[in-house]
């Protein structure tokens, strides 16, 4: 599983960080960082939740 964020859409609101802090982190510079681009399978359902809750529909999972 690969996590991809469309950084043209992302507005750094940190919603994804609230759901999967293991993968998404908004830092003090207000940019979103992906901590693991290929996260383990057990995080899939949480990442899917982040995909649904991202207000900008900026996150995608590529299998």
């Amino acid at each position: 599983m690969r996590v991809v964020v469309d950084f043209d859409l992302c507005e750094s609101n940190a919603v994804c960080m609230g759901i999967v802090p293991e993968v998404f982190e908004v830092r003090d510079d207000d940019f979103l960082y992906i901590l693991q681009e290929n996260p383990p399978e057990e995080l899939r359902s949480k990442i899917e939740e982040a995909v649904r809750r991202c207000p900008k529909q900026a996150i995608a999972i590529e299998d």
Binding site: E11, S12, N13, A14, V15, M17, G18, V26, R27, D28, D30, R52, R53, P55, Q57
Partner: protein
């Protein structure tokens, strides 16, 4: 699980319920009804990017309505539900069609209040649908330059900011003497008005509207001004009415077996009647967290509540009512104006204590905690997404007020 489920309202709550029902293994027919003929879309951009002209409508189509969604939904768009027979399990549509169902999701959202006495006057808009947003955008494209926003709520304030950024002269008229007091309290609320003033918006508080002036001699009887009590007229060629919304329950009036009280009242699991769930802006449920009936008009709630209602309905249809769980989230809201992002986890209001814990209000980049009864109830951020997210847990699990302040300050 098969049979037929009808979803009344093809927006955020309804479509998330539909997606969840498929995920939960519902293989029967899923019929989605909506009065709005447009391909179902997301609403927050309507006062932001769509109004600004930077996003086209294709960009806001909801995931469940995309061609590749694969949810096998039967669409009935442009068709309004006008009646419900709870015992007979039938939904009546405008035009006379009836849909029998085994399960129903009520997700008819909320509809804007209109200003009385404005019928027949051109250039007066509410902002709720894609058509509304495109109409306002079109008016600005066509040269409207004197915009008056009636009501300082978040949607009106966002529309004011977007119109201002497009170069219009903008006036906000608000009846309350303190802006955003009900939502953000007397300390933080006025900062929103200051933000607008700094961008050149004329924010008038404590004003009462007497009526609209228009020019019947011109095509469409366009608005020319907003008359205030006392006689002053504020020039206007575009009026945006943002005086709040009411739950979309007109079609349920008189439906025996459904309780209406400022929305569709459900039980803690979101069941409104046997085989009928409700979710989103229309639904009011008993929150154990807050010990009262809540109806929330926020984007994230519509998603979460739609999903939850879908799970509850799936449990009932599978004959396993005990699997339906109580719904009890922490509310989450954001609003964008100019270059500021306001985010709120939990609750904030005029009766809360307020403590600015990170940054300073003068910088317009800060975090404030809202507390009541010795506990943290809300975390509000202005351009502080990281800290709001880190402090959200202070609201998720009840935290004493002084501990919350200490923990928050430690992050600064």
């Amino acid at each position: 699980m098969d049979g037929r489920i009808v979803v009344a309202g093809a927006s955020l709550a309804g479509l998330n319920a539909a997606e969840t029902l498929r995920r939960e293994g519902f293989t029967g027919e899923l019929v989605v009804v909506d009065a709005d003929p447009a391909t179902p879309y997301d609403k927050p951009p309507l006062s932001k990017q769509v109004l600004a002209g930077t996003w086209e409508p294709e960009k806001i189509v909801l995931p469940a309505a995309r061609p590749d969604a694969g949810l096998d939904l039967t669409w009935r768009l442009g068709q309004r539900a006008v009646g419900l027979d709870v015992a007979g399990r039938r939904l009546r549509l405008e035009g006379g069609d009836e849909l029998a169902f085994d399960g129903l999701v009520i997700a008819s959202g909320a509809a804007p209040r209109h200003l009385p006495g404005t019928d027949g006057i051109g250039g007066v808009h509410v902002l709720r649908t894609l058509a509304d947003s495109l109409a306002i955008r079109g008016a600005v494209d066509a040269g409207a330059s004197d915009v008056v926003v009636i009501g300082a709520g978040f949607i009106g304030a966002e529309a004011a900011a977007t119109c201002r950024e497009r170069g219009c002269t903008v006036t906000i008229l608000e009846a309350a003497p303190v802006p955003f007091e009900r939502s953000l309290g007397p300390r933080i609320g006025p900062l929103v008005a200051d933000l607008h003033r700094d961008h050149g918006v004329d924010v008038r508080l404590g004003v009462r509207i007497d009526g609209l002036d228009s020019d019947p001699g011109r095509d469409g009887n366009p608005v020319t001004g907003v008359r205030l009590e006392g006689g002053e007229v504020v020039a206007a060629d575009l009026v945006i009415v943002g005086i709040g919304v009411a739950p979309g329950v007109g079609w349920l009036e008189g439906a025996a077996g459904i309780t209406l009280d400022n929305g569709v009242v459900t039980d803690a699991t979101l069941l409104a009647a046997p085989g009928i769930v409700a979710a989103g802006d229309v639904a009011r449920w008993p929150s154990a967290r807050y010990g009262e009936l809540l109806r929330i008009e926020h984007w994230e709630n519509a998603i979460q509540m739609g999903e939850h209602a879908g799970r509850t309905l799936a449990a009932h249809l599978a004959g396993d009512a005990d699997a339906a769980l109580p719904y009890d989230p922490v509310p989450w809201f954001w609003s964008d104006m100019y270059d500021r992002k306001i985010q709120l986890a939990g609750r904030s209001g005029p009766d809360h204590d307020v403590e600015v814990v990170i940054g300073a209000t003068e910088e317009r980049r800060f975090v404030a905690l809202y507390g009541r009864a010795g506990r943290v109830e809300g975390v509000l951020g202005w351009n502080r997404p990281r800290h709001v997210m880190q402090l959200r847990s202070l609201v998720d699990t009840p935290t004493p007020w002084s501990d919350g302040i200490e923990q928050a300050r430690a992050l600064a």
